[in-house]
Amino acid sequence: MVSGYRKGREVVVKRLLYVNRRPPHGTIYGHEGLEVLFTGAVFDQLVTVLFLDDGVYQLVRDQDPSALGLKNYAKGFRALEELGVEAICVAKDDLATRGLVPEDLALPAALVSREEITALMESHDVILSF
């Protein structure tokens, strides 16, 4: 579904929802999700990011996986606001279930309810899952 075109650039603009449901360092999903997210944002798409289930762990502040020989890719999420991402959303219930509060997160995110998450999924053209 085409939402519009940017004049003179022939860029099709879609509403993209990125759903992150995995914890950060045990698999490559989170890191790759961020890379794909950057691609969408850089190409002027309307991007919303949603952290759900164990995905909420990706946003926890002060992560340091250097002893694992891994890059702290999660720092990259802080660049999202500058790239013009529409919204960074976190499932309210999933944060609470894991004993976390918004102050534990590395960036300001919108806390969203179950109903709001359903509405997010229904209002985007494409959903990308990681």
Binding site: R21, R114, V126, S129
Partner: protein, 102 residues
């Protein structure tokens, strides 16, 4: 408009099915594929989860994945639709978007 949700893990391996059923809108289509098809076995934990939303969402199961795992029609919970690969493609094109609960 309608979203197609695919689930490809057993309800014991991951919480994908529970999350899917938590967030799927009324009228959505949920398609069980790969190891996700085990949820359709009657009397199982997965079937109990599916039953909570069966009145308001359309639940489909991929037939070849059932056959591959030796799950006959007699062992499936009531109210499911068994689809083949062609019908999977039709569902994916008819629905406005696809959410993969990996």
């Amino acid at each position: 408009m309608v979203t197609l949700h695919t689930v490809n893990k057993t309800p014991f391996e991951r919480g994908s099915l529970a999350s899917c059923l938590k967030y799927a809108a009324c009228g959505a289509v949920v398609l069980l594929i790969e190891d996700g098809v085990y949820a359709a076995v009657t009397g199982s934990e997965g079937a109990k989860l599916l039953a909570t939303r069966a009145h308001e969402i359309r639940i489909c199961v991929l037939g070849p994945d059932l056959e591959a795992r030796g799950i006959g029609a007699a062992r499936l919970m009531a109210g499911l639709e068994i689809v083949d690969y062609e019908q999977f493609v039709v569902l994916a094109t008819q629905c406005e978007r696809v959410q993969s609960w990996l």
